[in-house]
């Protein structure tokens, strides 16, 4: 692939913090006390074997876990220093500020234009049609999709290829001007070429948004992230600079995992 392990930008601004976060599904504990900082200028990757709780933890960051009736979150998570689980926090606004991209591209069965316009419309970010047009174009450009779709903005979003759909979903998330973008294995349903495009896009978005990405693919983590968190059985085993984790893991478990002993 085209990118070598990324160099870390010295952290300027800590965007989100998690302190001793525990997540339970009913009686079952899926996350066992995780503390982590996500900063603004680097891409953070979550890796770990299947079922270790990467997705669960990611979803606590924008309270998507609220939609699972049995899920319960303990501990403190902040966004710009504000507790996102505080009663005063408005979850609707939180999710606008912390956008999310899912494993399987999930464009709405509407036109490309409507897919992008959806967020700005519900949050009232556009003053009028012209304003909305500007937002749509800008978001599609940032998602690297504009040139491919500009002539067919009113075709259905579901008619695009998988990679285009995923970029559409990224564009959709960008359109509401989020501060953080969470991505849960955004490329695992894509072919290598589409994957490369998304990775490229992540590079370009870096710095503008705080980005957290869950991935199964360790090469991908190495390519796109500057920081990596390794999860195992609901615990955060190791969190550090990506290049260190891959070349010089401090924990035995991490080493075994990245060398393919299990997972």
């Amino acid at each position: 692939m085209m990118h070598e392990p990324q160099t870390l930008t010295p952290a300027t601004e800590t965007k989100m913090t998690a302190r001793d976060v525990k997540v339970f599904y009913g009686d079952k504990q899926a996350i066992k006390g995780v503390s982590i900082d996500v900063d603004m200028d680097n891409v953070t990757a979550f890796i770990g074997p299947s079922g270790c709780g990467k997705s669960t933890f990611l979803r606590t960051l924008n309270r998507m876990n609220d939609t699972v009736a049995s899920a319960r979150v303990e501990g403190a998570i902040t966004l710009d220093g504000e507790d996102i689980y505080a009663p005063s926090m408005d979850v609707v606004q939180l999710r606008a500020r912390v956008g999310m991209v899912f494993q399987k591209p999930n464009p709405f069965p509407k036109s490309i234009y409507e897919n992008i316009a959806y967020g700005p419309r519900i949050h009232g970010l556009a003053a009028g049609k012209a304003d909305l047009d500007v937002i749509v174009e800008k978001s599609l450009r940032r998602a690297g999709l504009w040139d491919e779709v500009k002539d067919r903005l009113h075709d259905s979003g579901t008619a695009l290829s998988g990679g285009q759909q995923q970029r559409l979903c990224i564009g959709r998330a960008i359109a509401v001007e989020p501060e953080v973008i969470l991505m849960d294995e955004p490329c695992s349903a894509l072919d290598p070429i589409a994957t490369a495009k998304i990775e490229e896009l992540i590079h370009e978005l870096r710095g503008r948004y705080a980005i957290v990405i869950v991935t199964h693919n360790m090469q991908q983590a190495a390519r796109v992230s500057q920081r990596t968190a390794f999860f195992h059985l609901g615990e955060l085993v190791e969190y550090g600079v990506t290049s260190d984790i891959f070349t010089n893991p401090r924990q035995e478990r991490t080493k075994d995992y990245i060398t393919g002993r299990y997972g």
Binding site: N62, M64, T67, A69, V92, Q93, L94, R95, A96, G99, M100, F102, K104, N106, P107, F108, P109, K110, Y118, G119, I122, H123, C169, R172, A173, V176
Partner: protein, 464 residues
């Protein structure tokens, strides 16, 4: 020999055939097995038993069925050659009535004669029936023996009895499935046949597009012109079933489905869903009674109190409202299915954008589920326009072309019931009109269903 006796005898023979064939197969197979070769033995002994038993029973049963149809004619021929039959009237109908009676008395199905002329024929009938009965029984037994013996000789260890028996099972399954076609044909033929006769009396164009429905005046001999314009019935049907009922059922059904699937706690959902389904299980006669006795008078009083003109105690509104309530579960379960079929990822996608639940439902889930919901509504409409008892009891008989929901309208189904249970004339256009209406109803509901199922199916495929 009487029917039950033959039946018992045959059953006995069948049982004997089964037991003996099974025993024989078992004996032969035990011997064959010791010979070693695996395929020396084919079917389990029980199958041999069935094979022989079926050979014993089926030919005899088929023969008896044919005999039961042929022998009465032969018996009657014999009786007719009896001197006592010379005095029979020439006219075929009364002749057959008398003969039929004599036969019934002779067979013991009837105690005394309606018609004195039949009495003389009872004895000849009795003798003839006896003779033919014995002959038939004898032949049946011979067949049973022959069939059984033939099959018995075929019992060998490697004889494929199972294959034969199974072939029969398959054939009977096939025949059972043909009944659906036969029923459909029966419906089409009976409706078409009578409708064609109707349309030979009434111009189909007048029927389908005429605006005046008064079959009574036709029955009174004023002629068929202008009497069978079914448009007011079609309108009444649509007004009640497709408009008023749907105005009630669609919002309530859809919103119930949304609430129960998206908002309600699982416990609430678990209880409320079957409770709402009870609405569809209440018999329509109960709804009709309820509409006629409770709802209609209340609505009329209301209409009168607010000064609505032409309020009737049998209003389109009363029937439509109650029908709408009955339809709620249809709409809600279809809506439920359709919304559930929208992938969870759509919902997640929208929520993750910061949409509220209701925004997600209104802007993403419902548009995505729309084809399914529409299909469900079409099914519900087809059900509503075919519904009979509610409208019979609560909608009235006045064939009005009106938009006033408080006035009385009539529907296709009401008129079918009315035409066939009220006064009937001899093959008058009036009686036949019921079948023509039935035909229209059949075609319309069929088309609605086909379209609805297409829509639903296509839409399901879109997400698979």
């Amino acid at each position: 020999m009487t029917g039950p006796a033959i039946f018992l005898l045959l059953a006995g023979l069948g049982a004997i055939a089964w037991v003996s064939a099974r025993a024989r197969a078992l004996r032969l197979q035990t011997v064959a097995r010791t010979s070693g070769r695996r395929d020396a033995v084919h079917s389990l002994p029980g199958y041999h038993g069935w094979y022989v038993a079926l050979w014993t029973l089926i030919p005899a049963a088929i023969f008896l069925a044919i005999w039961a149809n042929v022998s009465p004619g032969l018996i009657t021929q014999t009786v007719l050659s009896d001197p006592a039959a010379q005095s029979l009237p020439a006219d075929a109908f009364s002749r057959s009535a008398i003969l039929g009676e004599a036969r019934n008395i002779a067979s013991g199905a009837q105690a005394a004669a309606f018609n004195p002329a039949a009495r003389a024929l009872v004895e000849p009938y009795r003798t003839a029936m006896n003779e033919y009965g014995i002959a038939g029984a004898a032949l049946a037994l011979v067949l049973a023996f022959a069939g059984g013996a033939y099959a018995f000789t075929r019992v060998r260890p490697d004889f494929r009895a199972r294959t034969r028996v199974e072939r029969l099972v398959m054939a009977s399954l096939l025949i059972a499935s043909l009944l659906a076609i036969v029923t459909t044909l029966g419906i089409v033929v009976s409706l078409l046949w009578e409708s064609i006769r109707f349309f030979s009396m009434v111009n189909p164009v007048d029927f389908l597009f005429g605006t005046k429905w008064s079959p009574q005046s036709a029955a009174m001999g004023y002629g068929n012109k202008d009497a069978f314009g079914a448009v007011p019935l079609f309108w009444g049907t649509i007004f009640i079933g497709a408009i008023i009922a749907m105005v009630v059922a669609i919002p309530l059904g859809l919103m119930s489905a949304i609430y129960l699937t998206q908002y309600a706690r699982p416990q609430v959902r678990k209880w409320m869903k079957p409770i709402l389904e009870v609405l569809a299980g209440v018999p329509t006669v109960v709804y009709g009674y309820f509409a006629a006795l409770t709802i209609a008078p209340a609505l009329r009083d209301f209409a009168v109190s607010v000064g609505i003109h032409g309020a009737s105690s049998e209003s389109a509104l009363a029937a439509g409202l109650v029908m709408g309530v009955m339809i709620i579960p249809f709409v809600s379960s279809m809506a439920d299915d359709s919304i559930a079929a929208v992938p969870q990822s759509m919902r997640d996608g929208s929520l993750a954008m910061g949409a509220t639940t209701s925004e997600t439902i209104r802007k993403v889930l419902i548009p995505a589920a729309l084809p399914g919901v529409v299909g469900g509504v079409l099914l519900a409409v087809s059900r509503a326009i075919g519904e009979t008892m509610i409208v019979v009891m609560a909608a009235g008989l006045a064939a009005n072309l009106t938009l006033n929901p408080f006035s009385s309208v009539t529907t296709v189904t009401t008129q079918i019931v009315q035409l066939l249970t009220g006064d009937q004339e001899f093959d008058s256009a009036k009686t036949l009109a019921a079948f023509a209406l039935g035909l229209v109803l059949f075609i319309v509901t069929l088309l609605l269903n086909i379209v609805a199922l297409r829509v639903v199916k296509k839409y399901r495929e879109a997400y698979e």
